[in-house]
């Protein structure tokens, strides 16, 4: 008996208030799910079998049952929810309110609010260390990363980065944090122990970043170049540029295949890049204004 796995990408479509679900083996859209108004952010949970969607104009979070790909419920959230991330133990959900500069800490099952964290101006992307101890928040308008101790829920450090940090990613071992600086056209690679780092130039108006499956490269969406930059982490420089769809935003690596998935806001599609050859494989039509801001690929085992 062989155990096979599958991957599903949950792509938020801002313009039509839906989520497209892509099967990463067939690269087909297998479901389209109605969510709240203007969905942007997404985070997935393999333990809870959930995808959590932030609806910025709906001022809500929609929760999808990933075993049936059906909406469970939409929960109201004050403010403008954009960034969203779940803790590694899948118990706690963090939602960033872009407008009122606070992070909601919610129970990931009941979505009951536990507390709020105030950190910086216009909190955007968030990631959590693999051990669950640290939450990193990109504060777009204060040009820094807040490091939150998830036990005390207090800020332990602030890391100055480039102008307008937006998307974040972290290495599998948690040793490196990757920060996309939108106005500086760069990605900061930060050592999470020393909190020091350096910036690597990419394309025009970059938004989001994902490490390759082997962790040796970074793939970065350049929204105003319609491209993805490939950074060689050993060389600390961009080594290639891959043309994708228009205005690429969210980007994730499928741990199953190593392929890279890119949501194109401008052309309503997802581009798939081969993680090995670093070439475009295919483009998948999704919904109007695809964004997929966050961790949107779920690895699942058969039921």
């Amino acid at each position: 008996m062989s155990l096979c796995f599958a991957g599903s990408a949950y792509i938020t479509n801002q313009g039509e208030n839906t989520v497209s679900v892509i099967d990463t083996l067939s690269n087909q859209v297998i479901n389209t799910i109605k969510v709240g108004l203007k969905p942007v952010g997404v985070t997935v949970s393999s333990i809870n079998h959930r995808a959590y969607i932030s609806n910025v104009d709906g001022q809500s979070v929609s929760v999808i049952d990933t075993t049936k790909n059906k909406l469970i419920n939409t929960y109201p959230i004050k403010g403008s929810p954009v960034g969203i991330v779940i803790s590694p133990d899948n118990k706690t959900l963090y939602v960033a309110d872009w407008t009122d500069d606070r992070i909601y800490v919610l129970d990931a099952i009941t979505l009951k609010a536990q507390t709020e964290i105030k950190d910086g101006k216009a909190p955007a992307g968030m990631v959590i260390s693999p051990d669950g101890k640290k939450l990193y928040i990109a504060n777009r308008d204060t040009n820094d990363i807040a490091v939150i101790d998830t036990t005390t829920r207090q800020i332990s450090h602030r890391i100055a980065v480039g102008k307008h940090p937006f998307g974040l990613a972290i290495s599998k071992n948690g040793n490196e944090l990757y920060v996309v600086n939108v106005i500086s056209n760069s990605v900061s690679v930060i050592n999470t122990t020393s909190l020091k780092g350096e910036a690597i130039n990419v394309g025009d108006h970059p938004y989001c970043v994902t490490p390759s499956k082997d962790g040796l490269f970074l793939f970065v969406t350049n929204t105003q170049d319609d491209s993805v930059s490939v950074i060689d982490l050993a060389k600390k420089q961009s080594i290639a540029t891959i043309k994708v769809g228009e205005v690429p935003e969210g980007i994730n690596t499928d741990d199953l295949t190593g392929n890279i998935y890119v949501a194109n806001w401008g052309s309503n599609q997802v581009s798939v890049i081969d993680g090995q050859t670093q070439k475009l494989i295919t483009q998948i039509k999704t919904g109007d204004k695809s964004r997929a801001f966050g961790h949107f690929i779920l690895q699942t085992s058969p039921q």
Binding site: Q14, Q59, V82, A122, E246, V247, W265, G266
Partner: protein
Amino acid sequence: MKKVLALIAMAILPLTAAAHGPSPQKVEKEIVIKADPAKVWALVKDFGNLQKWHPAVASTTLETKKDENGDEQTYRTLTLKGGGTIYEKLRGIDDKDMQLKYEIVSGVLPVADYNAKMTVKAGPGAGETTVVWMARFYRVYKLNPPIPAGQDDESAISAVTGVFEAGLPALKALAESK
């Protein structure tokens, strides 16, 4: 045309590029022109002469100066027939892909963080050219609802749509003239 001028004249709100709401808007329009792509591209890339084809623009003033990073950049000031100005920064002229990119720095349109591109492509038919004009922008009001009148998504989309819909047929008419 009248509608565009009225829209632009009405939109007296200042544009600030400092911050924006989280939901970007898009307007995309295209037109097929019976003219050679090179001829159309020559008109589109002429950043300092928008008044040649856009009916809402009275004059264009070109300027080169250093931006906040110390790099030499090209800017233009559009003086509108309906009153008011729009100050724009050239982001790139790509002759290979026939693509012009620019952004609005400040001006009378009720938008924020506006960037746009005009792409010129051969086809669909022989001797034809397609021009695609696409803009990505945010509404003026950056906070949570209620949103003041004239600063919402609809006002921003309608103003940009007006500019594009007045401009493209006029570009076509000029490019198709002998």
